[in-house]
Amino acid sequence: MTSRHFIRKFLRNPLSATGLILIIALVAMALLAPWIAPFDPYSQSLLNRLQPTTSTHLLGTDYYGRDVLSRLIYGARYSLSVGLISVLIGSVVGTTLGVLAGYFGGLVDRVLVAMLDVLMAFPGMLLALTIVGFLGPGIFNVMIAVGVWSVPIFARVIRANTLVARSLQFVEAARASGCGHTRIIFKHILPASVAAILVLCTFRMSTAILTAAGLSFLGLGAQPPMPEWGAILSESRSVLRQAPWISIYTGCLITLTVVSFNLVGDALRDLFDTRMT
């Protein structure tokens, strides 16, 4: 399938096109936050506390009189970067381990697979909680925790792909013509896994954003007054009765973000016909 054909097929599917448009809008919102946010997300106005929707504050204000819309717009920066960085950690480390295990086989493979099995035996959220538990609360530690959770998931898929690619004729031909391991891995093995890496990254983005928001919600991730979505939701609980809109808008935005990444992930998986086992 040529790339143009692929893009056309992807955009013709209304679900994947909607997911992509939403992701582009969210990224634009994060990048343009200083220009599009009507107020400073930290600026308090105690006279305007807990106001519902008004013409000045489109999504109302919170307990400290801060503009909810501005906080959500700035929050996209934190939530999307937590997702991006943790997926980056997981994909780089996981892909490296997966390629090493699959390509070299033998003892390297057995040791790595045993280590990955242990990590996989741990339910993801518990693993993330354990790591944050030992590293201490904070947004950077959450990125590491969520990243480590993704490592075995990437490694397993990439290892399986490498095992298949390793025995293909063109790789054997490259080996016979005297190519070194590094060249074979980067020129022949990794390109065969690009589709799987891309699909996994998309799915892991949604899980990472959700987990990071969950940890911040528990008070273990982003700390107040940082406008991270999970932290905003956590703060809104104390005024749930007086100002339910803060929870409702924030939750809708998190769900929308997760749904968008899942829609794009589903479409990519179907188009690439990748098995994610």
Binding site: G133, F134, G136, P137, G214, T250, T255
Partner: protein, 313 residues
């Protein structure tokens, strides 16, 4: 069967050993001196030495590791730094609450997910199937912490039907049952969505098989064909998922218990992390890992009863 069970147990043991080792290494290799973090900033050097000795951190790493195992095998997880009570006692007092919550949640998720999945498969490509597939898709994307908050808003604050937080008694009392419903539902919705998706795809494979056509041709009632023959044969992947959901539920329990002030292990875990109560964190992680290994073992063993084609040899 006994040999099969023993072999499965033996496979679970290395995983447990590795998890305990991992937890031990994370604690010991974490940057920063845990003793300094535990003590107030103005603590004297003598206090630091005494605390280090109390926690056994003055010994070499291998010595600490063997001592750690020796204590675990004797059921001694040390004392909580925050409450000074034995970690084991803290765990035992909280386990029934988390077990109750997880049990109700898994039953609810099966009760919601399995029938929707079966019905969606039987009525493939109808409006019901379409709506349920969208609902399941949104369900797996739904943040459980937000769902819990919304359930409180709707059922506790606006309608006033159910309590917003706490545990009001044992499950078999009306007050106790009412108080577990919202936290259990918070946990169950996400699982139910995954279960309905898995049941649907598993059933779709089974209902195309020849023996289902034969069963229908023999004149069996359609409901009997689907609920007895198809579901039983398509249940193995669903059961695996149910087992996997248990781990997911324990992770989710941390969030649900915090939202609903449910006095279980999850809430204890968050408090332990906040206070950097390492012995307690280790105990909780060990318990979680052990229960996940145990549930996976039970799921493996149950395959034999559900599907006789799974041999124990």
């Amino acid at each position: 069967m006994t040999v099969y069970a023993i072999r499965k147990v033996l496979i679970g043991i290395p995983v447990l050993i590795a998890v305990v080792t991992l937890v031990f290494l994370i604690t010991r290799l974490t940057p920063g001196d845990p003793v300094r973090q535990l003590l107030p900033p103005d603590a004297s050097e003598a206090d630091v030495i005494q605390m280090r000795k109390y926690l056994g951190l003055d010994q070499s790493l291998p010595q600490q590791y063997f001592r750690y195992w020796e204590r675990i095998l004797h059921g001694d997880f040390g004392n909580s730094i925050r409450t000074r009570r034995p970690v084991w006692d803290e765990l035992v007092s909280r386990i029934p609450y988390t077990a109750e919550l997880a049990l109700v949640a898994i039953i609810l998720s099966a009760l919601i997910g399995v029938p929707i999945g079966v019905y969606s498969a039987i009525r493939q490509n109808t409006v019901f199937d379409g709506v349920m597939r969208v609902a399941a898709f949104v369900g797996v994307s739904f943040p459980s912490f937000w769902l819990g908050t919304m359930l409180i808003l709707l059922f506790a604050l606006w309608l006033g039907w159910l309590p917003a937080s706490g545990c009001d008694g044992p499950l078999w009392t009306l007050a106790g049952f009412r108080s577990v419903l919202l936290p259990a539902l918070t946990l169950a919705i996400g699982s139910a969505a995954s279960i309905s998706r898995m049941t649907r795809s598993s059933m779709l494979e089974v209902i195309r098989q020849d023996y289902i056509t034969v069963a229908k041709a023999k004149g069996l009632r359609e409901s009997r064909v689907h609920w007895k023959h198809s579901l039983k044969n398509g249940f193995i992947p669903v059961l695996t998922l149910l087992g996997m959901q248990f781990g997911f539920l324990l992770g989710g329990a941390v969030i649900a218990e915090t939202i609903f002030a449910w006095p279980g292990l999850g809430q204890l875990a968050v408090k332990a992390i906040m206070f950097r109560d390492y012995p307690l964190i280790q105990g909780i992680v060990f318990f979680f890992a052990a229960s996940v290994v145990l549930v996976n073992l039970l799921v493996d063993l149950s395959y034999v009863f559900i599907d006789p084609r799974v041999t124990t040899s």
